[in-house]
């Protein structure tokens, strides 16, 4: 059982490594955010879960930690994506469609106001 937990922790760290590689390889901010959010959330979740399996008496704090990360990480990446869209970060050339920019132009959404 303990060995199983340790292996899960190892799996989590491998996923974190994948997230890091993705951060370097992806072409623009949005794709980096995609890879970063999903993989880092899952990586942390798995490595903490592994420790919770090794040490079942510690489970309470680890569950709080997992829930906290699971809840806040998507929100922060959403906020960051929104900010980078408003300050016109260069979007990758491979992008096929950008509906949000089209909507912004259509409604003449100004610099600051709504």
């Amino acid at each position: 059982m303990e060995l199983f937990g340790a292996l899960i922790t190892l799996l989590g760290s491998i996923i974190l490594l994948i997230a890091a590689i993705g951060l370097v390889r992806m072409p623009d901010v949005y794709n980096r955010l995609q890879v970063g959010t999903k993989a880092s959330t899952m990586g942390t979740l798995l490595s903490l879960l592994g420790i919770a399996i090794i040490h079942p008496t510690w489970a309470g704090k680890l569950i709080i930690l997992i829930l906290f990360v699971l809840f806040t990480n998507p929100v922060s990446s959403h906020v960051l994506a929104r900010a980078s869209h408003y300050i016109n970060i260069r979007i990758s050339k491979r992008t096929v469609v950008d509906k949000l920019k089209v909507t912004d132009r259509a409604f003449k959404v100004g610099e600051v106001k709504k």
């Binding site: 974190l16 901010v29 922060s76 260069r90």
Partner: protein
């Protein structure tokens, strides 16, 4: 045995932090650096989890929770600064 596996996991996490720092130094825009900061915090949570197992102290996990809170707050304030919404 378990300690060996966890040491390998620790090494992998440090490798990923090194790669993230590469992106931090390279990153063309500020947003890339903020993403790197966020991921470094998240990786540190895993590091603290493993360290607290290795030292056999459950109390270290409180600090990891503070890290989760910290990453959320810092990312939000930087994002709001960048989009001029502070």
């Amino acid at each position: 045995m378990i300690n060996t596996i966890l040491t390998i996991a620790l090494a992998l996490i440090f490798l990923s932090i090194a790669i993230i720092i590469y992106r931090f130094m390279l990153g063309p825009s500020s947003v890339d650096r903020v993403i790197s900061f966020d991921m470094m915090t998240i990786a540190s949570i895993s590091i603290i989890g493993i360290i607290s197992y290795m030292s056999d102290r459950v109390i270290y996990l409180d600090i990891a929770t503070v890290y989760g809170l910290l990453s959320f707050l810092a990312v939000i304030i930087i994002a709001k600064y960048l989009e001029k919404g502070l």
